[in-house]
Amino acid sequence: MAVSVSPERDTVASPVQRALREALFAGAISFGLFVLFIGLKTDQNISNQLILVQRWGLLITVVVLTMLGRFLYIAYGQPFMASQKVTNVATGLLPASVASRFFLLPAFIAAFVLAIVLFAFNNSLPALVGDGLAGYLQFLRALAVIYALACVIFYFRAFIHANFTKLGISALVLYPILVVVVLSLNAWSITSGLQGSLKWVDNFGIQILIYVMLAWGLNIVVGLAGLLDLGYVAFYAVGAYAYALLGSQYGLSFWILLPAAGAMAAFWGVMLGFPVLRLRGDYLAIVTLAFGEIIRLVLINWREVTNGSAGISGIPKVTFFGLMTFNSTDPNYIGKVLHIAQSSAYYKIFLYYLILALALLTAFVTIRLRRMPVGRAWEALREDEIACRSLGINTTTTKLTAFATGAMFGGFAGAFFAARQGFVSPESFVFLESAIILAIVVLGGMGSLVGIAVAALVMIGGTEALRELDFLKSVFGKDFTPELYRMLLFGMAMVIVMLWKPRGFVGSREPTAFLKERKAVSSSFTKEGHG
């Protein structure tokens, strides 16, 4: 390992010298960048005058941290990475040598015990150590849990790799039950367990699964057919408003309106597709973006029908296939039918399983379609449209089916979203949503269902987790809201992932047919499509 480092030592300066120089440069650059951003701040004083607050201390801290980071990276990080040949595995995970040094059994046990202890004393912590420290301890607990999980994943990686789909689906099915059981045990009462599960099932589970479903739907258009669609949220909106309007005006059941919303969105997909699909690449992207905005503006301005930006409220809840309802006033309320205590958690858990089923339906249809001629034609279209035409494939209808299929799943997700929120307004369907969904598809690896699910978990789960970081308030002050930084983190994560794995988490492609053995196709051969 010294071999690869020593030539550098001989010819140039030692890493430490070089690091010092680089650190000085980095310091100068960050000083130049931040002197106005951080060093000075405009504020209002009591008499509402604009004053300039000087924050040299903070500036110095930031600059010194930058220099230190740069120094450590050049002096120790780079030689370490070089010796581990981390650069060689830019397309793979951490090399086993690094990982096996990082995931140690004693450390795993320590983390596990720490997490258990902290969970056990969770409620008495603030009293014991004070509010501020309790926040840090909670963060520490989260880190310990993540580390322990990562260890488990690392040690069972072969098994997990072999059974990923089964394990993933079982984990998803068991998730709400586990949450309720753990929380009930923790508080030693089922009611508070159910109550506590709301956050985990709704904010994390349902929220992530909605994005998984949306991204899987968009994946058909972008990942398989290679058509860059920046207005996917329009179909989500069509589905949501279809359910919201028809459900609240005519009292139709969710189970009738779900297919209707999908059909409506698919119809709009085709309507958009007809004029647009002769465009390619950037042009297609811009027109779909405009389409998304048009739908949103129509929703805002067509007040008589959509109630404008005030939105539609009082959207009926989903019923348990008409057998039971989730309104506590109804005679067939689930609690009364099953003789269990009243709780709003039932509805959330039911919704969780509903969106899980919808998402799995999307995945199932995508997998089936990929092995059908139409799915193969989508991928062929992404690879080379001219070759497709020379083989007699009608590229227009092929693109339209991709658009319509993707839009249909967007419509399903929209109807679900309306039912879950009970309220829709145009604000939920801004361009940023399209961008996030597209980012998840790209991060996950275009075309890969597993990669996309992982990307949605990391991205949406990660931003939701930011809300949990209360201890940051004690670092940055009371009015610090970590959620506001989620877009920053989203962007940083994207840059890092794109540098680390330019083709997304799962870069390889599963062939749809094989003669002797199924070999994954490396991403270096696949194309992204050009419209």
């Binding site: 249809v365 379609l369 690879e383 080379d384 001219i386 497709c388 020379s390 083989l391 270096s524 696949t526």
Partner: protein
């Protein structure tokens, strides 16, 4: 075979699978093809040769519907007696209904899909019908499963022919160049074509691969009865396997006939070698010499013709009309070597046996050939 038969004004339609009549293709002021007529016979290998920029690929693009010709008629007669006017069919229906398949000068494979998948995509239309336009297939109907198994069998058949069975599950982009060429031909054959158009299939192949290609083409001709239209630079391929040769230069046909008659046609030699004052005499004395043929191979005229890269399908025709009016009209004097030869031949007629074509004399020559009124297509010479 005599050259006359090909040039007849009233050809035997039953015999010809492809009949191109007075085809012209203009890009702005550039006449890429001018009044081209030729025939390809059923069950034969017809070669289309000519220097770079002669318009060969453009002819293919017109036949396969990627370009809509400015003038002219392209008739395809299928074995079952139906005929199609290719210039009127939409692009994707030409392979589907008229059964014309093609390959590309720059290989166009689905590089991220496996070799087998490439061949399955080629059977799209058949499988689409079998799967009830996806609906029935989605629910796993047995009819689709049978069709799907059959399509794999057909793919296997062509994989064997193209000697690619071992690489069936590898990505197409991972194959060596020669194998990619063969795969592209196999893919085209999987559409079940009656006419196969190959655009420079031997370009960039080493001698061994070239030989494998030849035997693949002969095999296709013999076993599947598919007629082949072939663009080729490699003279050895042309001379060995083609039954009939059409020579283009600057969008015009300068010769048409059997390989032997074409190879000895002084205008073809002139077009390929370039003519200097003395050279043309020298060339004429060397007619038929193997050495000349060797040189034909290596010396396509690139100084005057635009590079092949400019001709590639950059998109719809309207996108690429960037040529200013009259660009081709002002082509440097003496660009057309064949025309130059003709001028010489006319001023000092050495070969009185030359025949003019059956083309109406009143038809005024296109600007491209304006500098030489005799630059009309002629029959092949003996």
């Amino acid at each position: 075979m005599t050259a006359n038969a090909i040039q007849k004004t009233n050809p035997d339609m039953k015999d010809a699978i492809l009949q191109v009549d007075h085809l012209s293709m203009k890009f702005g002021g550039l006449i890429a093809i001018g009044d081209l007529s030729f025939q390809a016979k059923r069950g034969e290998i017809t070669a289309l040769i000519g220097p770079n920029g002669a318009g060969k690929t453009t002819v293919f693009n017109c036949i396969t519907g990627f370009y809509k010709p400015s003038e002219g008629m392209i008739t395809l007669n299928r074995a079952d007696g139906s005929s199609y006017l290719l210039e009127r069919l939409p692009n994707h229906e030409i392979p589907a209904r008229a059964k014309v398949a093609r390959t590309f000068q720059n290989i166009r494979l689905f590089s991220g899909m496996t070799v087998l998948e490439n061949l399955l995509v080629a059977q799209h239309n058949k499988l689409m019908k079998a799967s009830g336009y996806t609906i029935l297939g989605l629910f796993g109907f047995s009819g689709y499963r049978k069709a799907s198994a059959e399509s794999v069998e057909l793919a296997k058949y062509w994989l064997e022919k193209a000697d690619l069975v071992d690489r069936a599950d590898d990505p197409a982009g991972d194959l060596p160049y020669g194998a990619q060429r063969r795969l592209e031909i196999a893919r085209a054959m999987c559409t079940g074509p009656e006419l196969l158009c190959l655009d420079e299939p031997a370009a960039g192949l080493n001698p061994k691969e070239s030989l494998a290609l030849n035997s693949l083409l002969m095999d296709i001709k013999k076993t599947s009865g598919t007629s082949i239209l072939l663009i080729e630079h490699d003279m050895s391929v042309v001379m060995q396997i083609s039954d009939h040769v059409v020579v283009l230069e600057y969008g015009r046909k300068i010769s048409d006939g059997s390989p032997q008659s074409v190879r000895t046609d002084p205008r073809v030699i002139a077009a390929y070698l370039g003519v200097d004052d003395e050279e043309v005499e020298a060339v004429l004395t060397e007619v038929g010499d193997e050495d000349v043929i060797e040189q034909l191979d290596t010396g396509p005229d690139s100084a005057h013709g635009p590079g092949t890269s400019s001709s590639y399908l950059a998109g719809p025709v309207s996108d690429t009309i960037g040529h200013s009016q009259g660009e081709r009209v002002t082509v440097s004097k003496g660009a057309s070597k064949a025309a130059q030869y003709d001028t010489r031949a006319n001023s000092a007629p050495r070969k009185p046996s030359e025949r003019l074509t059956a083309k109406p004399a009143g038809k005024s020559p296109k600007p491209a050939a304006a500098k030489s009124p005799t630059g009309k297509p002629r029959g092949g010479r003996k």
